[in-house]
Amino acid sequence: MIVVLPEMQWFTSSGGREVQPVVNLLYKYLKEGRIMGFRCAGCGIIIFPPQGLCPNCGSNDFSWIPMSGRGKLMFASIGPHRMMGIQFLQGTVRLEEGPWVSGMLLDESFDLSQPEKIWDYNEADINVVMEVVKNPEGVEAVAFRVVR
């Protein structure tokens, strides 16, 4: 990523848009309960989680947009986060806007003592909605709640 200082803006071909502290802002939004992604001004695709340059057109010109929060659960698994000392479900989700994301899957009806049941959650046309939760270390995380 090219870091553009204000006094160097004349030097860049893109017109000198300043690079933002993306990670800081992403988590600031999450702390407010807002799940925000990037819309690329160059080609219009939506990127989540936000990153440095557009993977489609290479632009660095993005605007923050709220994500719809809707997605389809494609793959799921169960296991430990050893660093955080928990057993949890993980889902890989295709968001309505296109991006793929993995994260915590929330489903109170799942019996953790029967891990093999996760087999049936894969490619089963299950809808999920995103919500902001706190991980065991107190950091905001985007989780996916199963919709039934």
Binding site: G79, M83, T92, S102, G103, E116, I118
Partner: protein, 427 residues
């Protein structure tokens, strides 16, 4: 992009330490990265029939020396320990590269490129890793076992700290999705899945029991008997001895993380016969990145891309490959790469495992070293895999030598299941 080597390169020497734990294993007890590297490097130098005077530069891969030894800048330390000085009193060029479990594969690639570019004629490349022990300036040369938290940091520090780790988006969890997606795509049930997982362990153990340098080389049957089972299958299905980690993956479906070093002497092909009667040609390489997510999960673009780069450079097809070393950190990373690499057709590898085709006696040998269960010294994996293949291609592998002696071999190494590196070597 040409994706050709501008000058052909050969492997003329290989060296490997005993794999194990520097806190326990007698052969490497109380060693630091310096001694492990020296062992592998000296063995490779002798194997090549050269001296340090002929070597122009050093490329070393390493993943976690900051966490295990509080040590940056291994390049500077290891060029000194390898005694590689110039006539004018300076030491030669050296650098450490980091790419998670693919660190030493990147070191080998950079060594190859430096020779192909005409900058150097002979280089030493490889990797060294200590990832179970902690040492540093307060107790030099006195490693102690890492605490559980220290060990976990070695694993979790290669996750994206800004997203994957805090978001609980874990690679190991995605990897169990890989194998489920694979089995479901081929309409296979959970019972068959368990059989496939058992078969991979049987195949790896049957190969690895003849590997004297392995950290673990006990026959599977003996391990079962030790635990009070007459049948290895019952042993592997026992929740006590093989507990589930991420269903369906169990303890034995993962690696035995250990310490060790590997080294390779690379040489411009026009010079290699001066030193080595049986040079092995470095035919091709590829590298591509991705995440552990893909649209289909049973196939991953980074693996296909890296292998096509390597096949293109080598001017061969998957049909020409006689033997593969695949870095099966988890069992999923055995099945899926072997099909994405084209060594097996789609939907074939699970059956090949059950039919026993992947042992050194089979028609499609894989992981003659024993795979990651025989020892996974993470940042030195690629150089260790290359060591085993060079021995096979020279016909010097010993008790698990493939017959007839293979002509072309492929290494698939992958950093954090998202940094795919392929090396193709041949004689």
């Amino acid at each position: 992009m040409r994706r050709r080597l501008a000058r052909p390169v050969d492997i003329i020497g290989v060296g490997l330490t005993k794999l194990g734990l520097v806190t326990e294993t007698p052969e490497i007890k109380n060693m630091t990265s310096r001694e492990l590297w020296t062992w592998a490097a000296y063995e490779a130098i002798q194997d090549a029939g050269i001296t340090t005077k002929e070597i122009d530069a050093l490329f070393v891969g390493n993943m976690v020396s900051e966490l295990s030894e509080d040590q940056y800048h291994l390049g500077n330390i290891l060029i000194q320990w390898t005694g590689m000085g110039n006539e004018n009193g300076a030491w030669k060029s050296a650098v450490r590269l980091e790419g998670a479990c693919a660190s030493s594969s990147h070191a080998i690639r950079q060594g190859v490129f430096a020779i192909a570019a005409g900058v150097y004629d002979i280089v030493i490349a490889g990797g060294v890793e200590i990832n179970n022990a902690k040492m540093g300036s307060k107790a030099p040369g006195e490693p102690r076992r890492m605490t559980n938290e220290e060990r976990l940091r070695c694993i979790y520090c290669h996750y994206d700290q800004a997203w994957d780790l805090p978001q609980l988006s874990l690679q190991d969890m995605n990897l169990s999705q890989w194998i489920m997606a694979y089995m479901r795509h081929h309409d296979l049930d959970i019972k068959t899945l368990y059989d496939v997982l058992d078969a991979r362990i049987s195949s790896n153990c049957l190969n690895g029991q003849f590997n004297p340098k392995a950290y673990w080389n006990r026959p599977l049957g003996d391990a079962a008997v030790d635990a009070g089972f007459s049948n290895p299958r019952d042993f592997l299905r026992s929740p006590e001895h093989n507990p589930i980690a991420h269903w369906p993956l169990r303890l034995w479906d993962g690696p035995r993380r250990c310490d060790g070093a590997g080294a390779i002497i690379l040489c411009a092909s026009e010079l290699s016969k001066q030193f080595q009667k049986k040079p092995i040609h470095y035919l091709g390489t590829g590298n591509a990145h991705g995440t552990t997510m893909s649209e289909k999960m049973y196939t991953h673009p980074m693996i296909i891309e890296a292998s096509q780069q390597a096949y293109g450079m080598a001017g061969i097809t998957p049909d020409d490959i006689d033997v593969v070393e695949v870095y099966d950190y988890l069992a999923s990373e055995y099945l899926i790469p072997l099909e994405d690499l084209g060594y097996f057709g789609r939907g074939e590898v699970w059956k090949a495992l059950i039919d026993g085709r992947t042992t050194f006696k089979g028609d499609k040998p894989v992981n003659i070293s024993g795979g990651s269960g025989s020892g996974s010294a993470v940042g030195s994996i690629g150089s260790i895999q290359t060591y085993y293949l060079v021995k096979q291609l020279r016909g010097e592998a010993g008790a698990n030598q493939i017959e007839p002696v293979p002509i072309v071999g492929l290494v698939y190494d992958c950093g954090a299941a998202r940094d795919a590196v392929v090396h193709i070597v041949g004689r």
